[in-house]
Symmetry: D2
Subunit: 356 residues, 4 copies
């Protein structure tokens, strides 16, 4: 079923962009955890559009009201449900889209899947808005992971081809990951960040959009986590990460680049680091045979340019079965990559907590 | 659990490289299907090493003995179990590896996971040999898909950076996919294939290995297949494909390349093709919001160079906790990409049949 | 995970007796179904305490607010979430119970499971109140089943040993099942119902409680539904039905009685009924080898007497590790069997819809 | 999927009564366990027909050949597959049954489910023979449980209405459970056992069969095991136990009898036993709210009389759509209850190990 993920820390997401509410049920949280709501809200704020230049001007209200699973702020072992009420939605913006699928959106596929009964308003349950409850569940997972010494963090690796520095795959640290989280624009190299912002602004001025790559790391995992074959770390992380809209690719370690290397170049030699076994390089991205090696988990995610652009586009009228032109109104992010950074972190945290 | 995949067509793989047998249980095959064993064996032969220049010289016997689920060659609705007996294994080759993990192999991670009780012989259940039962299950899935008008096929997209032509993402046909399947070296452009083979031979002569990229397509899917969020086609296909050893990345449609495009360039316009809705281009790889659009499914998979190279490598002795050098003996593929082509097809077919 | 059930029609229940809200997410409802809210509310009202003599005097408000999955009253294919706000709860009633587990309640087991962090108020998520969202999900399932010609219905088979008539296992009809649903006290034989009510009243006057048996039937299932071994109809129905608090046993067909019969007496002869195959008797309860035979599904469920009785009971103080006496205050049903009837129907409908 | 059970200790059973082999894949066995094959074979022998008076005269060979998951007799963390080759099967006995469903067997239901392609020979995968791999998986589970101090055991509670003594629900001990396991006829009261054997012999002489009840206990479980609602101990145990053919009912604690008691009689007072909390009585069967209470788990299972009786029976010819009489030949158990005792133990062990 599409809205659930995981066995040990099972999340079930519900809602559509313009339904009365969206939310998530989390089953499998241990009892006795005092939720750090300040940290959870700070995490969710990174995803929220809140007036950032590169983000939509909509005023989404993302407060997660925890209606079950908690007594006096402490988890009680029962499933935790957080409900986020939808408000300030301009459903009328979408009325004319009912039979005019927006290119690169799920509209047409959803129409065919649900025989025309799909909720077209705001993209329905295919909307990026569904990442709000995902981020809530991810923030809770991160708090639990933190207590086990595991930190997940990500940054914008590139936007429109402008590349940030990369994480050092061998030495990336929890501190480094946490420092990026408090930046308003999550890059390592601030100057590159400025260039990216300029490129996003250019795209906005052209009523267009740009895509990018997010690099994510997880540090603090002991070796031996994950299962072979179908429940390896790569299988499970990719399975969660493709749950974030607009993701079109994922690569672990040096990924596609390793396909041009020889084995002798790509293999990471094992070395002793005091009493612990490490690898000298980390082309494998911390995962061997689906199992953690104890080195940092490193992967990159390709995010397509926002599908909602305001230039005129060709589409078809599904009712009248004829071609038509379409101009999408409303307010849309010219680049969703910055806001997607915490979403990728959340998906990763949810994947990892299920593998422990 | 790591050895099972799918809900509707659930496969459960068992065995290790050097255990008495390997095999697969398939639960969910409809009753009444006359298995085309000739086709199944032909498919599995594409994966088998059988004396090809680029493959290991081992003489694996891959005959799948169907011990249940079939009466007189026709499925009876009960789980089908196929057992492949292991033979001609040189377990002694691996004895010295018990405490000397091979770089880029799962040895170390498995040792840590299983407290040193992991089966080191031939890589145990992390071995590429486990793709034999996966290919059996994939071949059966393909026969069922074929009857529904769906064809899955793949080719070598590149080896060591030498690129084959690409599938035409809009017009790739079942015939084209089937033609490649009968080639001894699965490329579109035979000359590029020769170059690749030369590069593989060079790597072999240097006791080294090379990696590559596989491009896979599926045609004939109606629009509307897949589920939003966590059970989208991308989630499920990637989850299956990372079950093939050595896969380090996957990208759908134009994948990482789309991150450099603007939305107006990347969006695929909808057009009418007679009574049917198509897209003019197929940057989305046939998947929108996790749901099939009716256009060909297209994705590429990054495969790392074979980890087993015969040049001397640095590793550690896990027992004595000190560094050591290692020379891997035995017979190994200098490039597993060609033999991995049917494995990727199999994983894809298994993923798709579970989504229908 | 405990709060989810099913693969095709997956329900995820959340909430505790005294949490802000309780509810259910249903994933897998087909798009395009116009929910019959009147029928759903009527069904839920059968479970609600609403001032019936045999029920608690609490004034539970059970209105299911559908916050997602529906557009203009019609399902849109996205997960449907219904939220029921808790109100009129006297949490202080439970304060003293924190360390004084009520006999026959889950208090002690939950305390041990959750290290004392369990929500003790009203039984937390072990409360019978959790059957309200289950009934909502069951009512929706029943509407879908109805369209497929399947009807589920139940009656009180006995209370405190006073037995109602039984369904005719061969001829029980949808009409008969539906007739019982509109009765305020769901028995076949009204006189027996009066006797039961008198017995319940006697128990109430003694500050005590009584248990009973519910008989449930499902008609309209075609033969061939269910899976062998672990996903048979008996496995799946019992797995759902034990989700209703206070259920301690289940038997299909003639159940425990068949253990005293000879095979020649217990076997149900096959006969032709026009063109259809039927059985002359229905000792097998409509299920053979886990698969539906086309005869009515018949089973009975044992429900223990309400654990909350107001007579003084022996218990222990978990903090001080000493024995203590306990008098449970608050308002409690002297018999939950009548209100459990729709709950058993709901669990059955949810089980069956997952098997189709 | 029907052939798999469990998430942590997942078993996947394959095979039909007369297929080339039957077997089981177990995923989730920890690495490093030295399998006690002698104990496993002794356990399986209790299920095997081996010439016992009350059992079929067939000479089934039940040796489980472990083809994977083990290195030198020690588990290696990879899925364990055990294959049992079928031999000495008289398939011709079943040829005439193809269109003549045996009353009370799965034949008709399976025929309808699989469109006539079901394997009719020996009952196909509905055969009691499928309990052989289940017993293997149960024996392995029991070995692991034993190391955690948990013992599962069962006895014949009644046959044809002749009742054995019951386990003392409060004081039943591991020793007592183990003593019954070495008895050739597993009852507490040997004299009652003689009466039962006489009754079975009488049934055999009349070409008929008898059913019975099995009582099962599990001791050594700490309080707090199990999940509320749908993954409680009752849900999971019943879900496994109904996987044993011929089971038609299950009741926990005092089960159906509690429906005639008042709450004050049925509630089990908590008392201190040294530092531990116990209950004075155990009407709840060791399970409260789906969670273990620390008291012995107690439940009873109803098993119908063997469906295969040799007296003439009425049935229908599915091909010719007319009624016919049937005399079943071959060799069949006049009572399967004694051989089912270890099967119930196995199912219970598999259920419990998945709940830990």
């Amino acid at each position: 079923m599409s809205c659930s993920f995981g066995e040990k820390y099972k999340i079930t997401i519900f809602g559509q962009s313009h339904s009365e509410a969206i939310g998530v049920v989390i089953d499998g949280i241990p009892a006795g955890i005092k939720l750090d709501m300040e940290k959870i809200l700070a995490f969710m704020a990174r995803r929220a559009p809140g007036g950032k230049a590169y983000a939509t001007r909509r005023n989404e209200s993302d407060y997660p009201n925890i209606v079950s699973g908690v007594v006096d702020g402490v988890t009680c072992g029962a499933p935790l449900c957080a409900v986020i009420v939808n408000s300030d939605q301009h459903s009328s913006d979408y009325n004319k889209l009912k039979y005019l699928p927006r290119p690169s959106h799920a509209d047409f596929a959803a129409y065919m899947k649900h025989n025309g009964f799909n909720d077209i308003r705001g993209g329905g349950n295919f909307s990026g808005r569904m990442t709000a409850p995902m981020c809530f569940a991810g923030a809770v997972a991160m708090q639990i992971l933190q207590e086990k010494g595991i930190t997940v963090g990500a940054h914008i690796s590139s936007i429109a081809g402008i590349a940030d520095s990369s994480f050092d795959p061998v030495n990336v640290s929890a501190d480094e990951l946490n420092e990026i989280k408090v930046k308003s624009f999550p890059v390592i190299d601030g100057e590159k960040g400025e260039e990216m912002l300029a490129e996003i602004e250019k795209a906005r001025m052209s009523l267009d959009s740009v895509g990018g790559v997010i690099e994510c790391a997880a540090v603090g995992l002991k070796p031996g986590i994950g299962e072979p074959v179908f429940d390896g770390m790569e299988n499970v992380i990719s399975s969660a990460v493709f749950g974030v809209p607009a993701v079109k690719g994922i690569e672990f370690g040096n990924g596609f680049a390793c396909t041009k290397l020889r084995g002798s170049e790509n293999n990471d030699p094992f070395v002793m680091d005091g009493d612990e076994v490490k690898t000298l390089t980390n082309n494998h991205g911390g995962i061997l045979g689906g199992i953690s090696s104890g080195m940092p988990i490193i992967f990159r995610v390709a995010m397509k340019p926002t599908a909602s652009v305001s230039v005129e586009q060709r589409t078809v009228n599904l009712k009248e079965k004829k071609e038509e032109n379409l101009v999408i109104g409303g307010r849309h992010d010219p680049c969703i990559v910055p806001r997607a950074v915490p979403c990728i972190e959340a998906a990763t945290a949810i994947a990892i907590i299920n593998l422990l």
